[in-house]
């Protein structure tokens, strides 16, 4: 299959590069990458900034509240290896 031959180079990037890429988008989208694969699950935690600036100032504020009040995952904090 052709998809097997082409590498997943994005996941192979060093930590510093992926966290840089994730820091360049609103945090909501960075956190969504957690669903991509097991490798990506906690990568978003290494972003160097938090950006809740959606196009609507009110939804941005809601987003921040939801982020701060989110439920902690089971054993999430220990599993930060990528």
């Amino acid at each position: 299959m052709s998809s097997d031959i082409v590498d997943d180079r994005l996941s192979m990037f060093p930590e510093e590069i992926t966290s840089h890429i994730l820091s360049l988008m609103p945090t909501k989208y960075a956190v969504r990458t957690s669903i991509l694969s097991t490798r990506w699950r906690y990568r978003w935690r290494f972003v160097t900034n938090l950006d809740f600036d959606d196009y609507h100032p009110i939804s941005g504020h809601d987003m921040l509240k939801k982020f701060v009040n989110r439920e902690p995952g089971t054993g999430a904090l220990e599993n930060t290896s990528s």
Binding site: V6, D8, F13, R39, E71, G73
Partner: protein
């Protein structure tokens, strides 16, 4: 001749003391004697006579590129190598192929040549250049990211990473996986757990 140039010489004849025109032995403000100047002139003609220095960069596949120093030092990595006196004959860049290095040089040249966003036209021109610069296939884009990271060229790293960031945001996870060939290795239970964990982001 260049082998004799050590850091002491570089400090002494650093560019803030060098005029842009050939110096006259009679010029008193440099503080050198006539014989000193004649002596140094014959030994180091390129550092005294020319107003710009070129650096030779060698790619991983052995190709060499001669660039103005002002362009080369857009890379902090190269800048430090020059300052540490490692730039004797040429600077080897074993992590960068000639294809990518020539693109990086093109980027640095454009950014050095364009005055710093003083004029609206220059700023627009540079933005347009940058936009076209990253219209490359994914493999080349990734190579550019790695090169910009290795060579420590902040603006190029920001540009290329922003391009990838723009490719990620706004896409569904399945679209992202398809674009970047990422294999989903979650079990259905794990995937559900991740969605619950970060529910606020998936709304």
């Amino acid at each position: 001749m260049l082998k004799n140039l050590n850091s002491k010489h570089i400090q002494r004849f650093s560019y803030k003391y060098l005029p842009q025109f050939p110096i006259s032995p009679n010029s008193p403000k440099l503080g050198f004697s006539r014989s000193q100047i004649a002596n140094y002139r014959s030994n180091f003609p390129t550092t005294i006579m020319s107003s710009s220095k070129t650096i030779v960069l060698r790619s991983s596949d052995g190709e060499t590129f001669e660039v103005d120093e002002a362009v080369a030092v857009e890379s902090q990595t190269i800048k430090h190598m020059i300052e540490d006196g490692c730039a004797d004959t040429s600077i080897p860049l074993p992590n960068v192929t000639s294809k990518i290095l020539s693109k990086v040089i093109e980027y640095c040249k454009k950014h050095v040549e364009t005055p710093n966003a003083d004029e609206k036209v220059a700023e627009e021109d540079l933005k347009s250049f940058d936009a076209d610069f990253v219209k490359v296939d994914q493999s080349t884009l990734f190579d550019l990211i790695l090169a910009a990271n290795y060579l420590n060229i902040k603006s190029l790293l920001d540009l290329t990473c922003q391009t990838v960031a723009d490719m990620i945001k706004g896409k569904t996870p399945e679209e992202i996986r398809k674009t970047f060939n990422i294999k989903n290795d979650f079990t259905p239970e794990e995937e559900e757990e991740v969605r619950r964990e970060n529910a606020w982001a998936f709304e």
